[in-house]
């Protein structure tokens, strides 16, 4: 697998670490145990296109949101996490 890092360009799989489903949002502080349980334990496990968090730890250390098909491993989109490249926020 090769992932096109939005900052570094195309890189080989070995430079990246996988975290998983990127859909769940961390619940607010007052959300309660059920919401946090959902967030921590119930993730998309789609046979098809998933949105996933990957870390370019062997490169620029950016967290990425990767759209990938779990049946074919084909990657259709990569975007940086909200806080990667945040120096340009508001610019």
């Amino acid at each position: 697998m090769r992932i096109v890092c939005p900052f570094c360009g195309e890189r080989e799989l070995g430079e990246f670490t996988y975290l998983g489903d990127a859909k769940p949002q961390r619940p607010a502080a007052d959300a309660g145990e059920d919401a946090v349980y959902d967030y921590v334990y119930l993730r998309d496990n789609i046979a098809g296109v998933m949105s996933e968090h990957w870390y370019h730890g062997g490169g620029c250390r950016a967290w990425l949101k990767v759209t990938r098909n779990t049946l074919t491993h084909e990657i259709s989109a990569v975007e940086p996490a909200a806080g990667a490249g945040a120096a340009k926020v508001g610019a």
Partner: protein, 206 residues
């Protein structure tokens, strides 16, 4: 009062043995460790990319790289190291962290990396062939030209790699590697280069 001194010991001081190594004949790979440099990581703060860029331009006379490139200023090299960040490589305290702290106050966070890395310069006919054993980056001259840089990994270890100006018609690849990994990676580099014949040296010049 005790009688002691603050001798510097670089991470390759013992592993590096100047001279020839590996296959005999014309050396295909030349390895030079560059010693005693200043290296400062500059990370723009949230929303402060513009201010950081302006401060860098004012200080170095050139724009800091916003993409994976290394640019040479009069007395420093600025090397992209990730989104919103770059490394300032210089000598003799001209751009020490103390002096840069004033320049980037309020716009960027600085971290001294002068002792955190070893710098190895690789050249020679077989430099690309040797580096292909360590790096997954495409170093073809059309793809990785002079000034190209990459934050990448070698031997599962993070490195910063960039191509400097050619020297006597040959490409020069510079490698910043983590100091505590340096000796181990050095041996791996030697093993990879041995079949081509190696010339080993060190220098104080960037």
């Amino acid at each position: 009062m005790a009688d002691f001194s603050w001798d510097i010991r670089g991470p390759l001081d013992r592993a590096l043995v100047a001279g020839a190594y590996g296959a005999q004949g014309d050396a295909g790979v030349s390895l030079t460790e560059i010693r005693n440099f200043d290296l400062v990581q500059v990370m723009a703060r949230r929303g402060k990319a513009g201010e950081t860029a302006k401060a860098a331009k004012a200080r170095f006379g050139i724009a800091a790289p916003e993409t994976p490139r290394a640019v040479a200023a009069a007395d420093a090299t600025l090397i992209w190291s990730g989104p919103d960040q770059f490394l300032v490589l210089s000598k003799d305290g001209r751009h020490s962290i103390e002096s840069l702290a004033i320049v980037f106050a309020g716009s960027a966070s600085l971290s001294d990396q002068s002792h955190a890395r070893a710098l190895i310069s690789v050249s020679g006919d077989k430099a690309r062939a040797m580096l292909a054993k360590l790096s997954s980056i495409d170093l073809h001259p059309d793809v990785f030209g002079v000034g190209a840089a990459a934050a990448t990994s070698m031997d599962h270890t993070s490195v910063t790699l960039w191509r400097g100006n050619d020297r006597s018609g040959q490409a020069v690849f510079n490698l910043l590697v983590f100091a505590t990994f340096a000796e181990s990676l050095w041996h791996t580099i030697l093993d990879s280069a041995a079949e081509y014949g190696v010339t080993i040296g060190h220098s104080e010049e960037l």
